[in-house]
């Protein structure tokens, strides 16, 4: 499937891109993270510690074990600091 990936804050800075389009068969967000980590060192650095990361699937906050079936956009970012 084709997924739009988007990155925010220091995830964006470590990867060096605000987003990209990928082809993947990963069944879950966690499986997608494994694929990304294996690509290049900058991805391994950005995704080194999942407990420091949050994700959203199609613009809704999600857990890393969320299924990607039917998803179009996955976002990765640090814990939010609004308000």
């Amino acid at each position: 499937m084709t997924l739009d990936l988007v990155y925010f804050a220091w995830v964006r800075e470590r990867i060096g891109a605000a987003g990209e389009r990928v082809e993947t068969q990963a069944p879950t967000v966690a499986a997608l993270v494994e694929e990304l980590r294996a690509r290049e060192e900058r991805y391994a650095a950005a995704f080194a510690d999942l407990s420091a990361l949050r994700c959203a699937v199609d613009q809704e906050l999600a857990d890393f074990d969320a299924p990607l079936d039917g998803a179009r956009e996955v976002a990765f970012f640090p814990p939010m600091t609004g308000g």
């Binding site: 988007v6 925010f8 804050a9 906050l61 970012f77 814990p79 939010m80 609004g82 308000g83």
Partner: protein, 146 residues
């Protein structure tokens, strides 16, 4: 219910006055305003990044949750993104309710959720460079009370 996500400054006084004006149906209006705080005296700017597609939807969901939990007459949320100077206003919430306990509780709930569940990220620029603001355990723990 009114939710606005914008780069431009907002006029807190005018927004608060308009929100509270002519409401004989509610007895209580609470506002909260978040201001860029300079603890060190060395803060040059704060930059706030957000997730354009998701932000307004996430805030609206939080406001709807508040409206479902408390008897509210109205809710307003304004949150800025982009660059701000120390002392500038980052965001405001306002709640109107027949009774003060509901107005206070809803405003605190909105703030706790906006802090940790709306897709904003703060970066502080000082003379030593730029650094992302870390989320605190206290902010995450604050969600536990609702």
């Amino acid at each position: 219910m009114d939710v606005r996500v914008q780069a431009a400054p907002f006029d807190f006084g005018a927004e608060a006055a308009a929100f509270a004006a002519g409401r004989a149906d509610v007895g209580a209006v609470v506002t909260f305003t978040g201001i860029v705080r300079d603890d060190s005296g060395d803060l040059r700017a704060m930059h706030i990044e957000h997730y354009p597609g998701m932000t307004e939807r996430a805030i609206t969901a939080i406001a709807e949750e508040a409206a479902g939990r408390w008897a509210l007459g109205d809710v307003l949320v304004i949150h800025r993104f982009g660059a701000m100077a120390p002392g500038e206003m980052i965001m405001m919430v306002a709640t109107a309710a027949p009774h003060r306990a509901d107005a206070f509780a809803a405003a605190e709930f909105l703030m706790d959720y906006l802090k940790s569940r709306a897709p904003f990220w703060k970066k502080e620029v000082t003379s030593r460079g730029a650094a992302w603001v870390a989320a605190t355990e206290a902010d995450e723990a604050a969600l536990g009370r609702w």
